[in-house]
Amino acid sequence: MKAFQYVRANTAKSALEALAKDPSAQFIAGGTNLVDLMKRGVTAPDKLIDISRLPLNKIEKVANGVRIGAMSLNSQVADDKLILEKWPLLAQALNAGASAQLRNKATVGGNMLQRTRCGYFYDTEMPCNKRQPGTGCGAKEGYNRMHAIFGTSEHCIAVHPSDMCVALVALDAAVVVQGPKGERTIPFTEFHRLPGDRPEKDNTLGKDELIVAVTLPDSPYTQHAHYLKVRDRASYAFALVSVAAALELEGKTIKSARLAMGGVAHKPWRLQEVEKALVGKTVSEATFQQAAQQAMAGARAFEYNAFKLKLAPNTIVEALKMAAGLTA
C-alpha cells in the first residue's frame, strides 16, 4: 500500500476544513472498502482524514421519521429496535450484505459510497473508465456475468454493490450532506447516478461535502416487507439480483407499494412506475407476474448476464409474494 498522511478529525467541521485544505484527500470511516482498494492500488490517496470518531452515530426518532447518523455501523442499524420495528426492510437488507465482521466496521455513509466490485475496476492492468477515465470498458465485451441490465452506457456497465441502498431507495430515504455552505438534503433516488459519459462519478455528493445522516420518513411498510437476495452462495456474496419489496395492504388490496432492485444497475434501481401500477390491485401471483414484466421494460443483457433477464422478474415475483405472505 502506498504511504499516506493521516489526519484524525473530531468534528464534522474539522473534517470539512481538513478536506478544504487538501481536496485530493479522502475520508476514511470503517475502511472496509477503501483499505481493500488501497491495498490493490485501485486508489492511492496522499492523505486520509479519519472520520470514524465523528459524533454522528446516533439513530434518533425525529418528527415523521428517523435520522440515522452517517457513522452508525451497519450492524448497529440492523440490530436497532426502532429500525427493526418500523423499517424491517432496512434491517433485512443490511443483514443480507457482507459478513458480521464487516458490518461491525462498515458505516451507513461508507456503505453508500462503496465502489463497484466489477473485476475490471479492481484489476489495474485492465481498462476501466470508472477507475481511469478514457481507457475504455473492459466488461462490455469481457466477462460481464455480474453486470448491469438497466441504465448502462457505452462507457460503463458496472453495478452498485450495496444491499442497504436498495432498501433505502425503496423506503424514500434522503441523504443529509454538509459542505462549506452548510447542509443540504438529497433524495436517495438522486444520490447515486447512472454512468452516462462520466462513470468515474458514482454519485452526486460534492467533492467538498460529507454525508452526515440518512433520514427515513415514517412508513406503513412494517408488516409486509421482504428483501430477497439471490447470489452464488447462501451467504456472504454480492447479489446477482436482489429485490426490496414492501406492500401496504387493506385486506387483499394493495393500497401502496415500494419496489427496488439491486445488482442490476449502476445505482439502486427504484421501480416507481411499477409501484403505481400495483395500487388498487389484488394480491395474487398474476398481479405480481404483471408487475415483474413491467419492471423489465428496457432491460438489456450482455454476453454473460442474459440469465438476469429471467432471474430478475422471477426474483420480483418471489419477493412480492413473500412480502404479501403468499408463500410459506
Binding site: V35, S99, A100, K105, S235
Partner: protein, 204 residues
C-alpha cells in the same frame, strides 16, 4: 528480556527475507528491482510514524506505527502475536478476525491508527493461563478443524456470534459465521462446537 530476544530473532528473520526477496527480484527482473522507486522496503524507512495507544489482551501498549499498517500486520509483525492469521488479506476469509472493544472485526481491513484507545482481543487472549476458553475446548472436542489455519478466526468469530445472540439455531450460526471461510470444509463440526457451547450456557 524475552521480548527483546524475540525482536532480534524476528529482525534477523526479516533481514533474511529481505535479502532473499532481493535475490529473487534480481533473478526475475533486475532492472525493476534496482530502479523502481516504489520498491516497498526501500522507501518505507523515512516515513513518519504515528503514536498509538492500544490495550491488547489486557496489556497496555504505547506504539509507533506507520498510518498504512493494518491492525493485522501490527499484531503479527510488531507484537509477534502470530495467532491471528493472514489468509486473503482482503476481508474475504475471516482468518484475521479479532475483537475490538468486544466487536468482531477483520483486522486485515483495519488500519491500526484508527483503533486508537481501543481494547483488542486476539486468540492469545482467550484462554486463562492453561485453561482453554470454552469455545477452544469445544473446537477440540468436536474436531472443528483440519489444517487449523482458519481456526483462530473461526473461534474469535464464534465467541462473538454467541455474545451477539446470533447462535440460536444451526441455520442462524451458518449465516452469522459466513464471514469465516474454511477450505478444509470443517463447517459441520464448527457448527456443532458452537451449538455445544451455546447449549452449555457457559459465559463466553
Amino acid at each position: 528480556m524475552k521480548t527483546s530476544k524475540k525482536t532480534i530473532e524476528n529482525e534477523a528473520r526479516r533481514d533474511f527475507l529481505k535479502q532473499s526477496s532481493v535475490l529473487s527480484a534480481l533473478v526475475l527482473s533486475p532492472e525493476k528491482a534496482i530502479k523502481d522507486p516504489n520498491w516497498d522496503e526501500k522507501i518505507a524507512a523515512p516515513f513518519e510514524k504515528v503514536p498509538l495507544k492500544l490495550e491488547i489482551n489486557g496489556v497496555k501498549h504505547t506504539l509507533n506505527v506507520e498510518p498504512r499498517t493494518t491492525l493485522l500486520d501490527l499484531l503479527r509483525e510488531q507484537l509477534h502475536l502470530t495467532g491471528t492469521k493472514k489468509g486473503c488479506d482482503y476481508g474475504q476469509c475471516g482468518a484475521c478476525t479479532v475483537h475490538s472493544d468486544g466487536q468482531r472485526i477483520n483486522s486485515c481491513l483495519t488500519l491500526a491508527v484508527t483503533e486508537e484507545g481501543k481494547k483488542i482481543t486476539t486468540i492469545e487472549g482467550l484462554a486463562k493461563g492453561d485453561t482453554l476458553h470454552p469455545m477452544q475446548e469445544a473446537f477440540v472436542k468436536h474436531d472443528g478443524f483440519q489444517c487449523g489455519y482458519c481456526t483462530p478466526g473461526q473461534i474469535m468469530s464464534a465467541v462473538a456470534c454467541i455474545r451477539e445472540g446470533h447462535a440460536n439455531s444451526e441455520d442462524e450460526i451458518r449465516e452469522y459465521m459466513s464471514g469465516n471461510i474454511c477450505r478444509c470444509g470443517a463447517y459441520p463440526n464448527i457448527v456443532d462446537a458452537i451449538m455445544d457451547v451455546k447449549k452449555g450456557g457457559q459465559t463466553v
